[in-house]
């Protein structure tokens, strides 16, 4: 029995990975690979968690509410959009509508993830959905590559995605707690939000590798700037739709001329 299999025999891990054997080995190594691949992105998630946590405390909701919000809502951009509304005492429905619109890009992501996870039970699909992050999805797509999405390799894909999600979750939760506790001692001039932006740039750049992704990124950037004028924070959604459409158009054109083959 190998060392890894001995470790997998531990009671806690049996609950997670199932009885020791080839399946448990495949699950745990895919989870570990996901965690490892997410490690560099933890800087980005951590910086955003810190910024979000500090902003949450600074609008003056108490410690318990700030902790509950960061731990459970688990959505940086939606929380940052909701905070000024909460501070202004806006009605709850308006806060929820605004957060929903900021989160609409995840509805699009969920359509992209469906082909990989459609055979899983409802509970597992809900869990993987809840744990989906921008960075986790980006890195999953990078690993899965151009292969047609489908039910093949379901075990390794599911557990790899879970590993990425776990990396994001750990970075978010730890830095949120730190940010909430240290909120009063983190000055704005540190430019923490800019550290987060730089980290995101270094993660996105390696994904822009071919003509469709270049076109998608350029169109998304331009549309996002122009669409800032739209109400209700619709800019990101419109930019994603336009960017994906541009990428598909280029991809199809290249397939027709044979350039993409």
């Amino acid at each position: 029995m190998s060392t890894l299999q001995k470790i997998l025999n531990h009671r806690g891990l049996r609950v997670l990975f199932g009885p020791p054997g080839d399946l448990a080995l495949a699950r745990s190594s895919a989870l570990g690979q996901g965690l490892l691949d997410f490690a560099p992105a933890m800087i980005a998630t951590g910086a955003w968690a810190l910024v979000t946590a500090v902003a949450t405390v600074k609008i003056g909701i108490g410690l318990a509410h700030a902790l509950a919000m960061s731990a459970l809502v688990y959505a940086g951009s939606a929380q940052l959009a909701a905070l000024p509304l909460i501070a202004a005492g806006a009605p709850v429905w308006l806060i929820l509508v605004t957060a929903s619109i900021v989160n609409l890009r995840f509805v699009i992501f969920s359509a992209g993830l469906l082909p990989y996870f459609r055979d899983l039970g409802l509970g597992k699909r809900l869990l993987l959905g809840y744990l989906t992050s921008d960075l986790g999805y980006l890195l999953a797509v990078r690993r899965w590559g151009d292969a047609a999405p489908g039910p093949q390799d379901r075990t390794s894909r599911t557990w790899y995605f879970l590993g990425l999600a776990l990396g994001n979750w750990l970075a978010w939760q730890s830095m949120s707690v730190l940010g909430i506790v240290l909120a009063d001692r983190v000055p704005d001039r540190w430019g923490l939000d800019f550290v987060g932006i730089l980290a995101l740039i270094t993660i996105v750049v390696p994904s822009i590798t071919d003509m469709p992704s270049v076109a998608g990124a350029l169109v998304a950037a331009c549309v996002a700037i122009v669409a800032q004028a739209l109400p209700l924070k619709l800019a990101v959604l419109v930019a994603v739709v336009a960017g994906v459409a541009a990428a598909i158009v280029i991809e199809n054109a290249r397939a027709r001329t044979g350039a993409g083959a």
Binding site: N103, Y130, L138, I201, T202, V204, A221, A224
Partner: protein
């Protein structure tokens, strides 16, 4: 905002996270997307991150500011270029940060 209002808002926000992120994973079995769209969705996270980051770079101030003398734009361009060249996150981030600090001192 009242305590109860805050409780309600936070509970609602948790449901919003769950509902948006698992939307098609839960109801998608009835929807059949064309293959090209299904394949095209792998570009969605790149587009989303670009759409989240770029406006924060160029609209950081009161007005749109697209020149390299904008510390954020200059630093972002340097970080992106370094990442393309060296493929190393730490190099790219420290280079970007150095340019950011330098440009802010000059400005």
């Amino acid at each position: 905002m009242s305590e109860l209002g805050l409780d309600l808002a936070i509970a609602g926000l948790v449901l919003v996270t769950l509902a948006t992120r698992s939307f098609f994973l839960v109801i998608g079995h009835r929807v059949k997307l064309p293959l090209s769209v299904q394949q095209g969705l792998r570009y969605a996270p790149v587009c989303a991150l670009v759409a989240l980051v770029v406006p924060q770079l160029v609209l950081g101030g009161p007005a749109m500011h697209l020149t390299v003398a904008n510390p954020r734009v200059g630093a972002a361009l340097v970080a992106g270029a370094l990442m393309l060249w060296r493929r190393d996150m730490l190099t790219a981030m420290s280079g970007g940060m150095a340019v950011f600090i330098a440009l802010r001192l000059i400005a």
